[in-house]
């Protein structure tokens, strides 16, 4: 090592060696910066050549044995190819892409394609420093660009084209994949029974899967779910997402009324910050995440409808409600709404959501509620649970629900709601109360923005003075439903029954909740070092 005298610079000399007899071939593995690949995080890796392009010798011979084969076929084929000048490229193992699997089955997969032209005009060398300070230069044999392979499902070309055509109408993109999955499931299982739970679930998914359209109530939900392709109503999509997320879980939950408004409302900022009130399986407590709430809502929507239908059956006197109830009974709660919505949508041209609303709304209260994230408060119907939303919408705003599927729909729905409000006031207290309840709950569940809930709340009070302010009752029933659905901490429960909604002060809430818990005596479980309560029934 020689060093120069100047203090600000130092020079070191190293010997460079080019080893001659290495059997190792050096290659470059290049990753894109966007993929954020860090080799140090790899615990184990496997890499092998991708031989999928190799035509196995016998592959082209479709016939084995004598049946169907011709004498001298191979030679004739070869002669024919030569005549036409068809040159089949030889399969070179060296040029085949690499398949790299990192961290086992659950890890990432990469495909490495050889980059051509690297060694044509200049050579690349890898300089490594050896122990003795000298540099060793190894020539680079080949350069491979590695790209990560998607593990998630993707749409095929035809499906993608379909979706592209619907891009202006579809708001909830989650439902696209959900629908696809459902369709596959349906094809595979051929489950047709809507009445069954499983069918319900499927249907719900189907319905949610973005088949939220405005349909006539009378339409057979099954048809709609079958017909519904990828086009999804906005609401349905969110629901679909929910389904996707909690597919297996949320099915049975009827009390998902709170998440009625489970659709993405990307352009309507009103609903941001809306809290998901009712039981949402996943992060129900995370109201801040509109996405989650949306899926929740999505799920709730159908559930809400279920519940609503349940509750409605008892209390509803209006024809619409009856219709809805019937429909629900036939089709399954929740599903109907999206399905109906879908149907309606389908029926009407996509742009005519508003008109369809008017016609379809009958009994689509729940769907309307779901769809209309923005106007949950207007509902006014007490939404004790998902079901409530339906009832609320039914009495007065069947059309509104359908409108929710699009901005225009929403606007229309809003208008309708307003109109309905006035009519609603006249309706019986109970349904009104229910509606009120439902309205707020879906509201909160859907990712409506905070102003919305605020406005929502004010509307009932302003427009429907007769309706009680609380839309969420802190009852033992409600708590039980929550606990049955999923284990919750006290904090979660408290979040569910927020003071604003129940009308109780925080102290009162705590007390009441404590009493209820004492009465219920739920089982305890420690999850993540927190004590969760749950009930099994």
């Amino acid at each position: 090592m020689t060093s120069l005298g100047s203090s600000s610079s130092s020079t070191t000399e190293y010997v460079v060696r080019v080893p001659k007899n290495t059997s190792k071939k050096y290659n470059i593995m290049a990753f894109n910066s966007g993929d954020k690949v860090s080799c140090s995080t790899w615990t184990q890796a496997r890499m092998e050549r991708d031989m999928s392009n190799r035509r196995i010798y016998g592959e082209e011979e479709s016939t084995d044995g004598a049946g169907g084969s011709e004498f001298g076929k191979k030679q004739r084929e070869e002669a024919r190819r030569k005549k036409y000048g068809i040159v089949t490229k030889e399969f070179k193992v060296e040029d085949q892409p690499w398949i790299l699997k990192v961290n086992g089955k659950a890890g990432r997969r990469f495909k490495g394609l050889k980059k051509g032209g690297v060694t044509e005009n200049a050579s690349y060398y890898i300089f490594t420093q050896c122990a003795d300070g000298a540099f060793e230069a190894f020539p680079v044999h080949a350069w491979y660009n590695f790209t990560p392979q998607a593990k998630h499902r993707t749409l095929t070309a035809e499906e993608a084209e379909e979706e592209w055509g619907r891009r202006n109408k579809v708001v909830n993109h989650f439902s696209i994949m959900l629908q696809r999955r459902l369709r596959e499931q349906e094809r595979g299982e051929e489950e047709e029974d809507e009445g069954e739970k499983g069918g319900k679930k499927k249907k719900k998914k189907g319905g949610k899967g973005g088949d939220l359209r405005i349909h006539d109530l009378e339409d057979d939900l099954e048809i709609s779910s079958d017909e519904s392709d990828d086009s999804m109503g906005e609401d349905g999509e969110s629901k679909a997402k929910t389904k996707k997320d909690k597919g297996p879980k949320g099915k049975g939950k009827k009390k998902k009324g709170s998440d009625l408004e489970g659709f993405e409302d990307s352009d309507d900022g009103d609903f941001e910050g809306l809290e998901v009130d009712y039981m949402s399986d996943e992060s129900s407590s995370e109201d801040e995440e509109p996405e989650k709430t949306k899926p929740n809502k999505g799920e709730d929507v159908p559930k809400g409808i279920d519940e609503m239908s349940d509750s409605e059956e008892e209390s509803e006197e209006e024809n619409k409600n009856e219709e809805e109830a019937k429909e629900e009974e036939e089709e399954e709660d929740g599903k109907k709404t999206p399905v109906q919505v879908e149907k309606k949508k389908k029926k009407d041209s996509s742009g005519e959501s508003e008109s369809s609303e008017d016609s379809d709304i009958e009994g689509e209260a729940a769907s309307a509620l779901f769809m209309k994230k923005r106007t949950p408060p207007k509902r006014g119907g007490g939404r004790g649970s998902a079901g409530s939303s339906r009832t609320g919408s039914r009495p007065g705003t069947p059309s509104i629900d359908n409108a929710a599927t699009s901005n225009t729909l929403r606007a229309a729905a809003n208008k309708l709601e307003q109109g309905k409000r006035q009519t609603v006031v006249s309706s019986s207290e109970t349904p009104a109360a229910k509606r009120l309840k439902m309205d707020p709950s879906p509201q909160s569940s859907s990712g409506k923005s905070t102003p919305q809930p605020v406005s929502g709340k004010s509307t009932p009070s302003s427009r429907l003075p007769s309706l009680p302010f609380s839309d969420v009752q802190l009852t033992e029933d409600a708590v039980r439903r929550y606990l049955i659905r999923k284990p919750m901490t006290t904090k979660d429960l408290l979040k569910k029954f927020q003071t604003k909604r129940t009308g109780l002060s925080s102290e009162q809430t705590v007390n009441v909740l404590a009493q209820i818990l004492k009465r219920l005596n739920p089982e305890r479980k420690n999850i993540n070092e927190k004590m969760h309560f749950y009930l099994t029934e």
């Binding site: 600000s8 610079s9 130092s10 020079t11 070191t12 000399e13 190293y14 010997v15 460079v16 060696r17 080019v18 080893p19 001659k20 059997s23 190792k24 071939k25 050096y26 290659n27 470059i28 593995m29 290049a30 990753f31 894109n32 910066s33 966007g34 993929d35 690949v37 860090s38 080799c39 140090s40 790899w42 615990t43 184990q44 890796a45 496997r46 890499m47 092998e48 016939t63 044995g65 004598a66 049946g67 169907g68 084969s69 011709e70 004498f71 001298g72 790299l100 005009n121 200049a122 050579s123 690349y124 060398y125 890898i126 300089f127 490594t128 540099f135 230069a137 020539p139 680079v140 044999h141």
Partner: protein, 265 residues
Amino acid sequence: MADKGEVDLTGTKQNTGVWLVKVPKYLSQQWAKATGRGEVGKLRICKNQGKAEVSFTLNEELTTIDGIGDKSSKVRAPREHPFTLQTVGGQTLAVFTENSSGQSDAEASGSVTGTGPDKIALEGVVVQRAECRPAASENYMKLKRLQIEELSKPLRFSQQLEKAVTTNYKPVANHAYNLDYEKRKKEEGKRARADKQQVLDMLFSAFEKHQFYNIKDLVDITKQPVVYLKEILHDIGIYNIKGTHKNTWELKPEYRHYQNEEKSD
């Protein structure tokens, strides 16, 4: 297959950093000529107030370039090559090595590497990219000019001949090949009609191997005159005019019993 495909990650674990250097073609050619341990030159790294200057000096004995056109050893490769350092950018460049099969490491007999299937190992990650440029010098310019001249020559060129070429073909009365052919034909003679039963046996055994036959191929196999053969074929077989197996003969359905057809004799 546990070893095949398994990537040895020791390089990345140690976080060995390597340099990726782009080297001109002539220089890599010179390096290939290195003798002994493979020493090709010296790398000088100068840290000048925060900026690092790297330069490579080629060994004296490797500067002789031979074989460029007619001028051998007339041009010498430049010796000084400053490196232009570049960052890797956002890209992650890793270096992996492949021990090609067939070159099993006799030394590494303990490990299972290198025997048969390739052993892949991750050597390290590129931390610095550099380009090796020759310092502009008279030598280098001459070298470059020579190279360009070489490359600009067309691959094919026309050349005028003084004499006509007469060595390829000579006129013959009859070509050797033709003579052989006629002789063979004479020996074979005309095809004689064999016994019908025998012919049928031959046909059936042929059709056992393949389902479809061209008439010419059948004539070849049975060595029967065409007309006679056709008569027999009309009895037992059918002639496909259209379809995928055009103009081929196959046995009648009742005579067939191929496995994938499930027809019985």
